[in-house]
Symmetry: C2
Subunit: 115 residues, 2 copies
DNA sequence: CTGTATCCACCTTGATACTG
DNA sequence: CAGTATCAAGGTGGATACAG
């Protein structure tokens, strides 16, 4: 597999992909990560960014990702309270993968609608 | 976002990621693609590769991916019949993304178990 | 604003049995 | 070997109401 000199075995790759998906599974997680790739966001901002997600699901997914050390949650001392989410250093390591996925998604859209 | 010179906007990235996930969503698709990244495979080989998947789900996911032009299905003239699946040229474009995901998955496993 | 609780419809998946 | 059919169970996610 090109571009992956460290990997020489199929099963190992599949396991790795499976591990990654265990953390990024669910309908919304990668979209949320994508949103947070562009800097810290408040709850309501993510809600607007990720089209179609409900408040319940956003809370739930963010809590999941917090447990997995992917995002940090900070309650800001404002009136009324606002909460800021941001990728942890660990979460930042997902950026290249998100970038790849986005790039493919754009090409895919062209493939579907463009011609 | 580093490594993505063409993308300058958050919403567009999120949409792109969403589009990609529309095709790769579901519990098993990325694992199946990962398996096929290592060359054509027969149904039963994929079944062994992707740990935990049932025959029903494998059939269903492969059919989905065939509709989306990601994989080719070829019935081989053997006795009994065997069926070979392989990534289309279009499906091959997913390789970099799978490679990234696998790389991250391996690091993630270290993060969880390694220390 | 940022959630949580509840109820509920739907979808996904697994198990099993069966076909060509 | 490569599927399909059927059933049952559990998970997923939306709507709404409510709380701090």
């Amino acid at each position: 597999m090109e571009g992956l000199p460290e990997i020489h075995e199929c099963k190992r790759t599949i396991m790795a992909v499976h591990d990654a998906m265990h953390v990024l599974g669910g309908k919304w997680k990668v979209s949320i990560v994508a949103s947070l790739c562009f800097g810290p966001k408040r709850y309501s901002e993510i809600l607007k960014d990720v089209h179609g997600i409900s408040g319940k699901m956003l809370s739930r997914e963010l809590k999941d990702m917090e447990l997995n050390k992917l995002v940090n949650r900070t309650v800001l001392d404002t009136q009324p309270v606002t909460v800021q989410y941001e990728l942890t250093d660990y979460g930042q390591t997902l950026k290249p993968m998100i970038a790849n996925l986005a790039e493919w998604g754009i090409e895919h859209r062209k493939e579907i609608f463009g011609k």
